[in-house]
Amino acid sequence: MNFARTFLIYFTIAFMMVLPVHAKDMVLKEPPKSLDQFYPPHSKQPKWTQQMHKLSNHFGGVFINLKEKDFENVDKHADKLVEEYKKTSEMVPEWEEYFDIKAAEAFAAAAKTHDMKKAGKASGGLGKTCGKCHAEQQVSVWTKYHWPSFHKIKVTDPSSEKEVEFDKFMKQISGSFKSMRVNFGEGQYGKAAKALRAFKSEYMELKSTCSKCHTTDDVKRFYVGGDAEKAFQGLAKELNAEKPNPGNFWKNVGLVGKTGCKNCHLTHRTYSMIKEVWEEK
């Protein structure tokens, strides 16, 4: 069975890579409203994704069984593929155009000749319909349905102990970060030390947000983990010293900014930006 699985994976990957869009511009459009009904919370399960797995299993199933010369199952998968493909085409009216039922039927007919070459050739036409839609819609769908929204997450401001919006909190943390740096630059080490205290507690508060989207603690090794902890210790050491060493101070500022703020923005903010545009409408 290992072969079959490996084959299926290769098949899926190959087929997703062979059929990209050719234009250099990528347009991200908000997915049609009618897709909502196939994703939580409107449906109990992500039905659209499940439908995709069916298509891909039957598509792959045809080739696996051709290889194994299990022709009975080749025919079964070919028929099922057409059936599910038709069903999929009716799910989201706005996307009807992406489907080519004739191409699906032509592929099924070719598969039923039990000739690998013919089937391979006929798969191109059908595969293209899958590829075109993926290229144009998949990222939008991931962003809308698989990315939770930072705009709905509240963070407890550790100083006032009130909940604030995530983006407001970001502005606040950015202010505390700046306040520490400016005070240090001016040689006001006492003030800088107090600003560090506020900044650090706000930064640690960010750790409480991870579990609102992630279910393992492993992710906390990044952005808010050991590297950040060490940088904060380094900052505290300088600010509590009789004569702080500016070189060490700025090195640690850079570490927080790079391995903390920047890297987290690179992984999380892109999606948040796209969602924001859609949510504003």
Binding site: S208, C210, H214
Partner: protein
């Protein structure tokens, strides 16, 4: 013999047989249930109990346990306001497994499709392979049962309380989750008239899944002044997991430290947030040190410890102390 005497005898005989019948039934059910033939049990089985009924159905007999469960956080794991908020109106798929489990078997469960408002209910925790699994070897006429030793082990709770379980395991303490959170009392498992008398009292675990209390005895504090610094150390002496502990919830302890000068004026204040999500919870039996720089002369420090559960925005005082240099 006149009629009434005969009547009396007959009644006496019936009463005798009834008592003997109950006694035999009592004996069979409690002592020798393996003698009861499966075919006899088939006659009294209530088939719908094996079709994953709602918790209220179990309450027909297990009334007391139901009432307790109803008070537990488990019964509102899906309807809890704070959960709905955190899961973005329950759309985050990663969150379903432990909040609406199909069946608990010592590993992360799969989410179920039906009766979601029941949260973590009787069937989720007890119904495995067509039988009510539980801690006892017994006979329950209405439904098949199976003695499963997992029910008195922490591993069972660890199916979902995964992080807490790991913390507990690392302490090597013997008390299980159930020992502290489901303390046992001697009682009947069922309250249905008739049935309850046929079954002996047994140990029943508290299905309110008690939250646990903390006080001065549990969280110990030491302090010291040292030149320009004030040191505090806290020790979780009694609870064999982090205090607080959580999986995806965000319970917290707040430690408030206020510094006063000799005039009694506040000169500085600071706080610590002790929270599992921030990896700052107090580990079992291991001191945690905090160090504060004193910017001004200080003649008194006031320290307060407050607790806020995962499902609430309110804090309650655990203890308050004042120390002087």
């Amino acid at each position: 013999m006149n009629l009434s005497a005969r009547m009396r005898n007959l009644l006496a005989a019936i009463a005798y047989f009834a008592v003997a019948g109950i006694a035999i039934a009592y004996f069979l059910i409690n002592e020798k249930f393996e003698w009861i033939p499966e075919s006899a049990l088939e006659l009294v089985r209530e088939k719908d109990l094996l079709e994953r009924p709602e918790a209220k159905r179990c309450a027909d007999c297990h009334t007391a346990i139901y009432d307790s469960w109803k008070k537990s956080r488990h019964s509102i794991s899906w309807t809890s306001k704070t959960y709905i908020e955190a899961s973005e109106n329950r759309s985050k798929e990663k969150c379903l497994a432990c909040h609406i489990p199909e069946s608990v078997k010592g590993e992360k469960p799969s989410p179920r499709m039906d009766r979601r408002d029941e949260g973590i209910y009787c069937v989720s925790c007890h119904f495995i392979d067509g039988k009510m699994n539980g801690p006892y070897d017994l006979v329950a006429p209405p439904h098949p049962t199976y003695r499963n030793p997992e029910y008195v082990r922490s591993n069972f709770c660890g199916s979902c309380h995964q992080k807490t379980f790991k913390e507990w395991q690392a302490t090597k303490e013997e008390d299980t989750c159930q020992d502290c959170h489901m303390p046992r009392t001697r009682a009947r498992l069922t309250q249905k008239m008739g049935l309850n008398l046929l079954h002996k009292k047994k140990w029943v675990g508290d299905h309110r899944f008690l939250h646990g209390e903390i006080s001065e005895k549990d969280i110990l504090m030491e302090t010291s002044f040292q030149e320009n610094f004030f040191n505090i150390s806290l020790l979780n002496k009694t609870v064999p997991h982090g205090v607080p502990t959580a999986d995806n919830g965000d319970p917290r302890l707040y430690l408030y430290i206020i510094f006063y000068n000799s005039e009694g004026e506040e000169v500085d204040r600071t706080k610590e947030i002790l929270a599992p999500q921030q990896e700052t919870a107090l580990p079992f039996n291991k001191k945690v040190d905090f160090r504060y720089r004193l910017f001004d002369p200080v003649s008194r420090v006031n320290i307060e410890l407050k607790y806020q559960p995962a499902w609430s925005k309110e804090k309650e005082l655990v203890w308050e102390k004042t120390v002087q240099p």
